[in-house]
């Protein structure tokens, strides 16, 4: 990697090279039967790891396991399950 003068970064969104999944102790599990597809989990995710849809997809490469989606789901379709030892 050659440094750019002034530390300018010319690759937008490059934090995606760094996966934050290792921070997680619980992971969200979606019950597709209960999901109504309201999209609240998508709106409320600070890490933009939930895609819109019914059921929503979770990008486990970046999910930090904060649990907001599970707490906010009006249909109780998301539960936080302990991360397996890896």
């Amino acid at each position: 990697m050659k440094l750019t003068p002034g530390a300018v970064i010319t690759e937008p969104g490059s934090t995606t090279r760094y996966q934050t999944n290792g921070w997680r102790t619980f992971r969200p599990a979606v019950d597709s039967g209960k999901c109504t597809g309201c999209g609240l989990c998508w709106l409320y995710c600070p890490d933009a790891v939930i895609s819109r849809g019914k059921p929503p997809g979770v990008d486990y490469r970046y999910c930090k396991g904060c649990g907001i989606c599970a707490n906010e789901c009006p249909a109780k379709a998301i539960t936080m399950v302990p991360e397996e030892r890896g």
Binding site: L3, T4, P5, G6, A7, V8, I9, T10, P12
Partner: protein, 394 residues
Amino acid sequence: MKQALTGNEAAAIAAKLARVKVISAYPITPQTAVVERLAEFVANGELDAEFIKVESEHSALSACIGAAATGTRTFTATSSQGLMLMSEMLFVASGLRLPIVMANANRSLSAPLSIWCDQQDSMAVRDSGWVQLYCENNQEVLDSVLQAYRVAEELLLPVMVCFDGFILSHTAEPVDIPGQAEVDEFLPPYKLPNPLDPCRPVTMGPVGVPECYEEFRCMLQEATRASKEKLIEVGRAFWKHFRRRYGLIERYRSNDADVLLLTMGSLGSSAKDIVDSYRKRGEKVGLVRVRSFRPFPVKELIDALGSAKAVSVLEKDVSPGSAGALFLDTAAAFINVKRAPLMLDFICGLGGRDVSSLHIREAVRAATRAAEIGEVRKAVRWLGLREKLVGLRI
């Protein structure tokens, strides 16, 4: 076209000739007229630029940073306390490698409050990564601002053009104002390589982690070193266009001199008169004036001073607990050189104290004496000091 201009007017006209697009400045004595003239140019439609009348010098430079990062030619001007308030952003501007040009009308620092001239303000920020040019007269102020943009934009380095407050800023001298067409030829429009632009998003000013911070500092140091060659090259181009010659240093009757004066800024012209009077009597006295303090012209000074017996540095700044900055850097230039002249440092002209011909002669005499006895008994001295008021023997 020749016109009688103050240093402030020369700086403002130079910025206009450079076709700056964004000006961001805050008034401060003795720089105020720069801001006033530019405001008039914009108000009259003589200059097509945005003038941000900011609420502080900190914001003045911050706005310049934003404007320069968006890819426009920017200009600011300040003095003294204003430069100190900017100091945080000086380092940011150079770290971001933004080609901002600033005119600094040199003024002393508080406390006690003083609006008068010395060079402690710009000397205090000599490590900020800005190229620093010190002007002897108002023609040089105008010419240096134009050259500054070339250097700044070709190397992505900010440049500070310094001129003595009141002595130059408020004194009118005949100045040759180049025509706009000639300036346009010398200074073409520029393009920042990676400007802020939604079409091609870049991130500027990220967190420099320990794995790369030192390398960025080294890159800044290398660019500043390279600015020596660039200043010479731009000086040559300037000669071709305008028939006025500029280098990193100016040598005046110094080639065969046994005793040399070394100074910066408007003191250069006073010292030239003294040199002439010694030369008339057949004494080998000369002058070297440092124009580029950053980058520091080590090789040029070794060449210019190396064959003299003694050098007296005259400078309007002091680093309390040490000596004057010009003296320190000059002494350091000779650290690995076998034959070095004896060196004396004369702190003078602080807070607007007049540096008279008597004072300059005193510095010549001291160097002559040192050359005779082959040693320097007291390296750092004050010129024109009213010792009784201090209550100490200095």
